[in-house]
């Protein structure tokens, strides 16, 4: 079942097309990776899907609904969450609070009266997510004081708090050591059960291991699409991106 579709999505900045006529589809529970050299338009595509930017032209459907041009808030409420390449957390709030805020976003923001401690459902869910992402023991630490690896986990935990249907992950292993990268890949595989994921990554091993499907972007356009095996063999991709080296 198709969960996301983009049709000829284009984003222009002045004379430059960051993204040009991109068609892509995502099946439910699929992990699809988008790869491409720097400046290929991957992050821009994310921003178009999650509502941070409006496309210059083209259309986007999500979960059967036409979402082109909807703003970030509306898109988030429909079940698309993003994790960012540059860690985007709430530094002076505790780790627990970072996730709790995310979970609470699915309820009302305008509750001026209850004590936060009393909502067992919200707190419980936040606790569960912290356990899943391995941050439970650090829940009282201020988010800004976490180690870099833990911050990357928190980045994911926050996104999970919003009960997303689709998770857009922008380089989750960015800046991580090889050991941490493996752990992160394992985490992504774990949370991807029951979710659909679009992943932007540079580390080819992660991409090849995790993805059901891979889309390759170059200068804003799709130049190849397929399962990891066929992408590995694709001559165009190898020339443009992998530099002719067999991975």
């Amino acid at each position: 079942m198709e969960i996301l579709r983009t049709e000829k999505v284009t984003k222009r900045f002045g004379g430059l097309s960051a993204v040009l006529d991109v068609d892509m589809t995502l099946e439910k529970n699929e992990i699809q990776s988008i790869i491409g050299p720097n400046g290929a338009g991957k992050s821009t595509l994310f921003r178009l899907i999650n509502g941070e930017m409006r496309p210059s032209s083209g259309r986007i459907w999500f979960n059967g609904e036409y979402i082109t041009g909807m703003d970030q808030t509306a898109v988030s409420l429909r079940g698309i969450a993003t994790t960012y390449q540059i860690t985007n957390i709430f530094p002076r709030l505790s780790t627990f609070e970072n996730v709790r805020l995310a979970v609470q976003s699915r309820k009302t923001a305008y509750n001026l009266w209850s004590k936060c401690g009393s909502d067992t459902k919200v707190n419980g869910k936040a606790g569960d997510i912290l356990r899943t992402t391995g941050l439970h023991r650090k829940k009282d630490v201020l988010a800004g004081n976490l180690s870099y690896g833990d911050k990357r986990r928190l980045e994911i935990a926050i996104a999970l708090g919003t009960e997303p249907i689709l998770l857009l992950m922008d380089e989750p292993t960015s800046g991580l050591s090889p050991v941490e990268t493996n752990e992160m890949a394992g985490l992504v595989r774990q949370i991807a059960r029951g979710l659909s994921v679009i992943l932007v990554e540079h580390k080819m091993k992660v991409v090849m291991d995790l993805s059901d499907k891979i889309t390759v972007l170059h200068e804003g356009q799709v130049i190849a699409r397929g399962d990891p095996g066929s992408i590995r063999e694709d001559a165009t991709v190898r020339r443009v991106y992998l530099g002719g080296v067999k991975v």
Binding site: Q72, S76, N88, F90, E97, L101, K107, A109, L112, K115
Partner: protein, 331 residues
């Protein structure tokens, strides 16, 4: 850590989690140790003003340079309605709060069209606009001379009781009653889910938006709440001084509020109160020596921005935190 049978650590923890009773006790004692009662009353009123402002600045992270506007609106509305009608005390205060509320709704909406520095400048511009308007509209506001001879109705429910609240000590406790109610309300609001979202916006507005929060509307609500408390402070101020002038709307007033917050500690619940107390006390002492007290207070402010941005109360909390070795609850 036990000392002479007292579990010092436990007491500190409880106080940190439930600070209001202690503060109330302190505030009850203050008028009796302060040089004169009116100063204590001013501390509470301006503390209330600073507290209101802190919702916007300390919790939501929105720097406003024009909060004198809501203080002034509250002050003028109360003064005008007392002079022109024969209304009761509580009605007059209610009118002040209401006018400040409306002002905050309108001005907040316009200012929040922009973010960051622009927002700050816009708040200043609108406050100046109100200042000029009050200056010109002499028939309503008394212009530069202000409103004098404001009547002092008793606190009364017709048929039930009537109390004259204007003797210095009585007035202090009258004002304190409002302050305590405000403190409890504010504490509730800032500890609620809404209060946490405010802090989320302060820490990372873009992420809060990405999580699905309508940050503009929430900021506006924060602005309006802040205006309500500031307006209440303005009302009480008119009753305290018996006079309303355009100085209350002037940007220097907004500056004073900022300085109080910064001296006290912006991100904390009681910082503003502490800051108001310190500020007024310093002003009182220094004015005894020179009329140019800003020459002393100005550099103190600059130095605290540079070296102590967490303010006095913030520093105290950090110290207590280190003693406890874990983060304190909000306080």
């Amino acid at each position: 850590m036990k000392k002479n049978g007292f579990d010092f650590g436990k007491i500190m923890s409880w106080l940190a989690a439930n600070p209001i009773p202690l503060i109330v006790v302190v505030l009850v004692i203050v008028p009796f140790i302060s040089p004169y009662k009116a100063l204590a009353t001013q501390m509470v009123i301006l503390g209330l003003l600073a507290l209101g402002y802190n919702i916007l600045y300390g919790y939501t992270g929105l720097l406003s340079f024009g909060h004198a506007a809501y203080f002034g609106l509250g002050a003028y509305a109360t003064g005008i309605i007392l002079i022109r009608t024969n209304c009761s005390l509580l009605t007059a205060i209610g009118a002040g709060v209401f006018v400040a509320f409306v002002g905050a709704c309108l001005i907040g909406f316009l200012c929040l069209r922009r973010r960051g520095i622009y927002f700050a400048l816009l708040t200043l511009a609108f406050a100046q606009m109100l200042y000029f308007t009050a200056n010109m509209w002499e028939s309503l506001t008394g212009g530069e001379a202000g409103l004098r001879n404001i009547p002092h109705p008793p606190l009364a429910i017709p048929g039930l009781f009537s109390v004259d609240v204007y003797a210095p000590t009585r007035f202090y406790f009258f004002v304190l009653a409002f302050a305590v109610i405000a403190l409890i309300l504010l504490n509730r609001i800032l500890e609620s889910p809404f209060g946490r979202v405010l802090q989320g916006i302060r820490e990372n507005e873009n992420r809060a938006k990405a999580l699905g929060y309508n940050t503009n509307r929430i900021k506006w609500l924060s602005f309006v709440l802040s205006g309500i408390f500031s307006g209440l402070a303005g009302s009480l101020y008119t009753l305290h001084i018996g006079f309303v002038g355009i100085d209350e709307l002037y940007w220097e007033m907004s500056g004073k509020i900022l300085m109080m917050i910064l001296l006290g500690g912006p991100g904390t619940f009681f910082g503003p109160f502490v800051g108001a107390g310190i500020f007024l006390y310093l002003e009182d002492i220094i004015s005894g020596y020179t009329r140019y007290w800003m020459i002393v207070l100005g550099p103190i402010f600059v130095l605290s921005v540079l070296f102590f941005p967490q303010g006095v109360w913030g520093t105290v909390r950090l110290f207590l935190e280190r003693l406890r070795k874990t983060p304190l609850e909000e306080g």
